[in-house]
Assembly symmetry: C2
Homo-oligomer: 330 residues x 2
């Protein structure tokens, strides 16, 4: 793969290019946060599945089983949030290695239940198997949006502004802090962001119901990769302003303590599960009003496709922003 | 666990007993072949997930990647068949170990596509990850039935007759034949049943649309276990007549060649993915008519719960039939 290439995405696309579509109900298939299926006069259905594999997505040294169970549900709920939907039902599939006892399985399930109850998701079924070696969790969530209101990755238009919710970089910094055994409140707060994503269901609903966002994705792979997904799906370019990227003071202190560059994590660190979205210039006034109860930060703008995706430094210098987020197959 | 206990089922029940239900749309939750969700005026939605784990559900010594991919879809389609439904959409999640190359991944996907196209299932999404060690496939299928027509495990009534489709025991005999390196057409035909289940969508639809079946399940764990699931869900007992169980001549010859007792496989061997269902005495005439284009065999009857589940031998002697099918956690 070329540096910066997105081989997981490529692999999925290559394998699925000849998949037949047998249904006129499929509105959006492979390549967005969720598939969108026409569900009748009032609602569209959203379908998503996210897999957590021990040794790839998590290490039991840094995560409790309860945290792993909770996260497996939360990352799926975040995909529903990224479409502007509400999560309704989950199927939970577990492959359990021999060293996970029945008692610790209860811990795993307690985490699954905690997240399901927080987001009012009903666990409707799933499957359970032994695993020879590592713990595997696959969660599928079925959600809904009002008909025609799902926010896709493909709707960004030249002139749109780019926004993110929350602050960036904490989840990836938290993992590095755990691995390097950092202590203290900044490390703990960052690790909490890694272990316990907070899907933006409320914000996603407001953007979808108010027809405010033109395109949206959740930040799972990292800003540079996820912005590239929006630009590719929408056929546009983008400029991000480094000085406008929201970074918490706690993250800056933690990065300094680890002699790390915070913007490496802000730009490329995955798993923040904030929402990255685009909106027309008119929406800026709405986001600034007291009636809009969410904090979003404008970080750049959508350009024509030939501009590529660029990062602007405070001195006005621009350089290409290559997708360098997490990719299992790179 | 007590001998004959169903520990996987117990484990699922124990872990999910306190799962909250946040939706009045959930008509049937954990404990049937599919969850059933009210989907509007005309249709109910069916949701199912089935996991295949290397070293637990399959061995790459006996299965090609193409067969594994196909089977992962087929076993889920069979769950939809067991409710009397039609499969519409699939999410396919794969965890890929390092020794599966991109080229062999194409083989896996070719098998997934073959099964999806055979049953006209649209692959709407999924997830893809590296796995440190073993190949894992989790497929979720979304299907539909006409409103209120899903055939549950819980509808069997005293006096109902018990039926199966097809013949029994071939899939488990096929696996033994592969492991013991049997050759010849009988071994090949049995192994084909193991590798390539044929979900009974057509029969399931006829039973559901004609309101003919009172309870139904697909034979994944084995007749003794799956019949116990129906009896437990319905609160009834049952009698099975050994001499009426359908076994092919090919299976009898193969069992003889391996010095195996064919009825061990017929009663307890899993993965036949035939349909096991119950129907009122009136339905027997329908099943015998030329207008009913499926072969089903009456194998017993539903009794009161205090009768337990018994096997009747040709000499009239009866003994308890204990669930001895496949259970990962036993």
């Amino acid at each position: 793969m070329a540096p910066g290439g997105d081989s997981e995405f490529e692999l999925i696309r290559r394998m699925t290019r000849s998949v037949a579509c047998f249904s006129d109900q499929l509105l959006t298939g492979i390549g967005d946060d969720c598939a969108v299926v026409a569900g009748g006069a009032e609602a569209d259905l959203l379908l998503t599945a996210d897999l957590l594999v021990e040794g790839v997505h998590f290490d039991r040294k840094w995560f409790s089983l309860r945290q792993i169970g909770s996260k497996a549900v939360r990352v799926n709920v975040s995909d529903i949030a990224a479409m502007g939907g509400v999560p309704d039902f989950a199927l939970v599939t577990l492959a359990i290695p021999p060293d996970v006892s029945a008692a610790s399985l209860e811990e795993l399930y307690a985490g699954i239940r905690e997240a399901a109850e927080t987001f009012r998701v009903t666990i409707a079924g799933g499957d359970l198997s032994r695993s020879p070696d590592v713990l595997v969790l696959d969660v599928m969530v079925l959600g809904t949006t009002e008909r025609g209101r799902a926010v896709l990755r493909s709707g960004a238009r030249v002139g749109d502004r780019i926004f993110v919710s929350g602050t960036l970089g904490a989840a990836a910094l938290g993992l590095l802090a755990a691995r390097t055994q950092q202590r203290g409140p900044d490390a703990e707060s960052a690790m909490a962001r890694q272990c316990r994503p907070e899907p933006g269901i409320g914000l996603g609903r407001a953007l979808s119901q108010g027809r405010l966002a033109t395109a949206m994705i959740d930040l799972s792979d990292g800003l540079s990769s996820d912005l590239a997904h929006i630009c590719e799906a929408s056929g546009v370019g983008a400029k991000i302003r480094l000085q406008d990227l929201p970074v918490s003071d706690s993250c800056r202190r933690l990065a300094a303590a680890m002699a790390a560059e915070p913007f490496d994590f802000v730009l490329h660190g995955g798993e923040d599960y904030a929402l990255l979205f685009t909106a027309g210039p008119d929406a800026v006034a709405v986001f600034g009003s007291r009636r809009f109860p969410f904090t979003v930060t404008e970080i750049g703008e959508i350009l024509s496709p030939d501009a590529g995706i660029v990062l602007e430094y405070p001195d006005g210098r621009c350089e290409a922003l290559r997708p360098s987020g997490y990719d299992h197959f790179r």
